[in-house]
């Protein structure tokens, strides 16, 4: 019984391996960096950046080759929900470049805004320029540095941002020093009075509870956007979550601007929730206690 069963399993595994290989994806570039292997591939009408050869969940960025303006990922659309909380950012900070989809969209929408992007990996910057049409210059300023080091120094120098986007995690590895109460306090210090933080985080593992109580400990009430238990975006302001009617007004005003990205308020607004759906007693993550990767993978 047993050998037959395991043979079956083996066959199923083999078949699924063959299946993954037979999808028409085409690797066009690979790059080894200090931190990871970067793979650029094309599949259908999309070009994607991945940090792992064939694992779809490790995709960092995809861009549609037919309509480069349009967002491919759900999470990037959700990140833009930050604009409903502050519709006219002048100074923007983005931690984590990826293919540069978010900064390029913001630069197009707000030609007068100054956008700082902190990216630890020079190879990611290079690949974003080479394969995703990202260009740094007057408006888009890339700093190759650890996000925590940048935030600390910017805080001491008195820099302030109207919009901060944290997009530094992938599904396999979390920089643990970027998910602690102390780091969020440093980020909070960088926000202007009506500034907003948008964080792309996790929603599947036990880490969800811990990161929720950690954000809550720093920002109080926040907007929590979830889709299918896969994507989770935190939207927070200094003064807690703003009233719903202000968000509705901003959403209406932004409708035309966001349309080219491939979504509108009918889809995005219903995701806005302030209801805590996590274990309230989950231990807060701090510089002293931050086993994020263990909490994310083991339990």
């Amino acid at each position: 019984m047993r050998p037959v069963h395991s043979l079956k399993t083996l066959f199923a595994l083999f078949a699924s391996l063959m299946a993954t290989h037979s999808t028409a994806s085409n690797v066009i570039h690979t790059e080894k960096s200090l931190y990871r292997n970067i793979v650029i591939y094309e599949e259908g009408d999309q070009r994607c950046m991945s940090f792992s050869q064939r694992d779809q969940s490790a995709r960092q960025t995809c861009k549609s080759l037919d309509d480069p303006n349009q967002f491919v990922f759900t999470y990037t659309k959700m990140m833009m929900g930050a604009l409903y909380l502050n519709p006219d950012p002048r100074n923007v900070l983005i931690v984590g470049l990826g293919g540069g989809v978010l900064p390029m969209a913001l630069a197009k929408m707000y030609p007068d805004a100054a956008i700082d992007i902190v990216e630890i990996d020079p190879a990611v910057v290079k690949v974003a320029k080479q394969f995703f049409g990202f260009e740094s210059g007057q408006q888009l300023h890339v700093i190759e540095e650890d996000g925590r080091v940048f935030a600390k120094r910017a805080g001491k120098a008195g820099q302030r941002y109207d919009l901060i986007m944290l997009d530094a995690f992938d599904h396999q590895y979390i920089p643990e020093h970027l998910l602690t109460q102390e780091f969020l306090l440093e980020i909070k210090k960088l926000l202007t009075a009506d500034g907003v933080l948008a964080a792309n985080t996790f929603s599947t593992s036990r880490l969800y509870d811990h990161e929720s109580t950690t954000y809550q400990s720093v920002f109080g009430e926040f907007y929590n956007l979830r889709v299918q238990y896969k994507n989770r975006i935190v939207l927070a302001r200094l003064d807690g979550a703003p009233a719903r009617d202000a968000i509705d007004r901003n959403a209406a005003a932004l409708e035309e601007k966001l349309k080219p990205l491939g979504f509108g308020r009918d889809w995005l607004l219903p995701l806005f929730s302030t209801k805590p759906d996590w274990k309230a007693d989950a231990r807060i993550l701090t510089d002293q206690y931050s086993p994020s990767n263990l909490l994310n993978s083991v339990f």
Binding site: D146, R148, H177, Y289
Partner: protein, 201 residues
């Protein structure tokens, strides 16, 4: 009994060094990030400190070697780790403000915090070899046994700290626990080792 304490001290010293080394990456990350060069700086400092420690430990073993002194080294290494808990943030912030390049910032901070305790921990092994060796013929055997306990302890310290301790305790709690065990083991070795030494050969 004396030999057991010598092996215990060597093993625990190996545990202590690797646990501290792993935690040091955590301690430095808020100020200097988690880049490869931060780990490079940490490992460099620990290796340099150990190499100096081996040299000093060997020298020290030339004069009146005793289990009491070995235990004292263990306790001294633990005691010099206490400033990491007490002065940690103040020192890290001061280094961050003065050294712009995070490579040299992390190297300097790691040196200030960990060079002395690690060098003292490095003194333990050659000193312990001196206590164990009775004749030249068994010296290799003794050294091998000692390396075994010391490096086995290092492996245990590495896996326990990174797999389990960080999941349940804060960094300072783990540090305090490590220091506590060193002090207790050192005291026990001093008391029990001495008692047996008096009527010994």
């Amino acid at each position: 009994m004396q030999r057991i304490f010598i092996f215990l001290i060597a093993g625990w010293s190996g545990f202590f060094v690797m646990a501290i080394e792993l935690l040091s990456g955590r301690i430095l990350a808020p100020n200097f990030g988690n880049s490869i060069y931060v780990w490079g700086g940490v490992i460099t400092v620990f290796m340099l400190a150990l190499s100096v420690g081996y040299l000093l430990g060997g020298r020290l073993s030339l004069r009146d070697p005793s289990l009491r002194r070995l235990a004292l080294l263990l306790m001294l290494g633990a005691a010099t780790t206490i400033p990491v808990i007490l002065l940690g943030d103040a020192v890290l912030d001061a280094v961050f403000d003065r050294v712009g390049d995070p490579r040299y910032g992390s190297l300097l901070a790691a040196t200030l915090f960990f060079f002395i305790p690690t060098a003292i921990a490095g003194m333990v092994s050659p000193y312990a070899v001196r206590l164990l060796v009775r004749d030249p013929q068994s010296s290799g055997h003794c050294a091998g046994l000692l390396y075994f306990f010391s490096t086995f302890g290092s492996a245990a310290g590495t896996i326990l700290t990174s797999f389990y301790l960080v999941l349940y305790f804060e960094i300072h709690q783990i540090l305090a626990g490590l220091i506590g065990v060193s002090l207790i083991l050192g005291s026990l070795a001093t008391v029990l080792g001495n008692r047996e030494n008096a009527p010994g050969p």
